[in-house]
């Protein structure tokens, strides 16, 4: 069985956000690009499953819709341990466009497979691509997944529901949209992995014609917050008064 990990390429989470061209574009000047944190955890879980001999996972493919500039991120995923990578050569215009490209590529997949996607990209926060891909491929999808275990062909998934979780059993192929818990700490590439990554296949394919359904018009920064009102540590009572009479919360 093969695990396909959808890989987003996003600004490092500590990036200071700025916009250019009359706030029409994200200013990527000087930005450090990283694997979307969820996808890094998804890849980590995929690696753990491949290393475990109690199941049939034997290959991990990472797949990205992105321009040449995303290749360092893809190489990092190969260095962490993916076996091969696919880059669909296009600017990711909107989530519909991205999912369509991924689906066009994956529809020819013959082997049994599971797709891992993250719950959201840390840049545009779409929370969309994984489930859209499932609908394009006419596959089941399980969302809000915090754990996925495999025992032979038996797959057990924990999905979060409001105030608890459900244990769901599934059989491949399907798409799983993962979140917190899927793996604890992301793996970091070791020296050997970095050397090996250079020789691993990175297959570049052309995009297919598809019109996006949304368009980003303009960006805005949040209004600066008024300064914090400080209260003396010996006067906790005042905080309660303020919450009651000024903020009108209590």
């Amino acid at each position: 069985m093969k695990i396909i990990v959808c890989l987003g390429n996003v600004p490092d989470t500590t990036t200071k956000i700025k916009f250019t061209d009359d706030n029409k574009k994200f200013d990527s000047d000087g930005v450090q690009w990283v694997i979307n944190p969820w996808d890094e955890l998804a890849l980590t879980r995929a690696m753990e499953l491949k290393e475990d001999s109690n199941n049939s996972v034997n290959e991990i493919t990472v797949i990205t819709v992105g321009t040449l500039g995303t290749e360092p991120t893809i190489r990092k995923a190969l260095a962490i341990g993916a076996d091969n990578a696919v880059r669909i050569d296009a600017e990711p215009i909107d989530s519909y466009f991205v999912a369509f490209q991924l689906a066009e590529y994956l529809k020819n997949e013959e082997e049994d497979y599971i797709v891992f996607a993250g719950i959201e990209s840390s840049d545009y926060n779409g929370s969309a691509v994984g489930s859209m891909l499932a609908e394009f491929l006419n596959l089941s999808s399980i969302s809000a997944v915090s754990s996925l275990e495999m025992q032979g062909d038996q797959i057990k998934i924990f999905r979060e529901i409001d105030g608890g979780h459900e244990v769901v059993s599934m059989s491949a192929p399907f798409v799983t949209v993962v979140q917190k818990g899927i793996a604890i700490d992301p793996r970091i590439p070791a020296m050997r992995g970095i050397m090996m990554a250079r020789k691993k296949p990175l297959n570049v394919v052309a995009a297919v014609e598809c019109a996006p359904l949304t368009e980003m018009l303009s960006f805005e920064l949040p209004q600066p917050k008024p300064p914090c009102k400080m209260i003396d540590a010996d006067n906790a009572k005042e905080l309660i008064d303020l919450l009651q009479n000024e903020a009108k919360i209590l």
Partner: protein, 324 residues
């Protein structure tokens, strides 16, 4: 034309977020001069369904067959898409929660309808259809145009006020023709937190960070939360260390919440933590370090040791409660 709103229920009950969504649907339908149709799936009594009429629903479609008690994303998508087509809906609304996030993208593909998730305001215009959402985990906003004729939106919690508008909606039963074999999702077990206020539903939250020093020091946080009727939360290292359960972890990689009040105790205010809580209406910070970044995000701050400040706050809340 119509606005279709998927009104999710929990054990036969709607939540405040359901009514927020319905109020939002009504606001959009007014802008488009059309009607609001609510779809309810699962056993919900008519008395509960009628409450949707407090917020402007014109018609309710209910599916009460037990078959639909398991959330199978594929089946649900087909059901909602079919209703959308029957009702000639061109806007479909869901809450931005686990279910909405799982269904809205599938609906978008099925209906070839442009999707915007986690919207925070009514559209600034419906022609072209322009909506606003947060991006970069709250560090910015984007205004988007939906280009397709049909649209699917999910609404962020606590971002739209309830607006009462009494209507007397008719209730129609609908029976889609799916069978058990269509449900590929097999639920083996359900585990629910019982008796505890669910963090994502809470209007008030008391949260602790590494500054609490040890899991044994959580007594005052729980006591304060209890007194206020608040839920408890924590920063990521606290849940990673196993000091607190994972459900409490807030932030970019945990829960994103928007309560009316968030009290952060011994939390430094790292950018990834703020990503999960910056939409709170009011933030209070208690921290020994006057330069902690949390004070830049906070509305009210106390520089001081949690172990001294919390007991005083508890006393003050007790006094406040006995007076009110």
């Amino acid at each position: 034309m119509a606005v279709l709103v998927y009104t999710e229920n929990w054990d036969g009950r709607f939540k405040k977020s359901t009514y927020e969504l319905v109020s939002y649907a009504k606001a959009i339908s007014d802008m488009m001069e059309t009607t609001v149709v609510a779809l309810s799936i699962g056993p919900v009594e008519d008395k509960e369904l009628e409450k949707l009429g407090d917020y402007g629903v014109d018609k309710i479609i209910k599916i009460s067959d037990d078959l639909y008690s398991v959330l199978d994303n594929q089946v649900y998508t087909r059901v909602i898409a079919d209703v959308a087509e029957n009702e000639d809906a061109n806007v479909i609304l869901l809450s931005h929660n686990n279910t909405g996030k799982a269904l809205a993208p599938r609906l978008s593909v099925r209906l070839k309808a442009g999707l915007v998730t986690a919207v925070i305001k009514v559209p600034s215009s419906v022609e072209p259809f322009t909506v606003c959402k947060k991006v970069f985990s709250g560090k910015g906003f984007v205004h988007l145009v939906v280009l397709s004729e049909k649209k699917v939106l999910t609404l962020s919690k606590n971002s739209f006020e309830l607006v009462e508008k009494k209507t007397k909606p008719g209730i129609e039963e609908y029976s889609p023709d799916f069978t058990l074999g269509d449900f590929k999702t097999r639920v083996e077990k359900v585990d629910k937190q019982t008796g505890k206020l669910i963090l994502t539903d809470a209007e008030l939250v008391v949260s602790g960070g590494r500054g609490m020093k040890s899991p044994d020091n959580w007594g005052p946080i729980e006591e304060l939360a209890d007194l206020l009727g608040a839920a408890t939360a924590c920063s990521r290292p606290v849940s990673d260390e196993g000091w607190r359960p994972h459900e409490e972890h807030t932030g970019q990689t945990g829960k994103v919440i928007a309560p009316n009040l968030y009290i952060a105790v011994g939390i430094s205010g790292a950018i990834q933590h703020l990503a999960g809580i910056s939409s709170s209406k009011c933030i209070v910070a208690i921290n020994t370090d006057p330069d902690a970044p949390i004070f830049e995000a906070a509305d009210y701050g106390i520089v001081g040791d949690a172990h001294k400040v919390l007991p005083e706050l508890i006393t003050a809340v007790k006094e406040y409660k006995s007076e009110n």
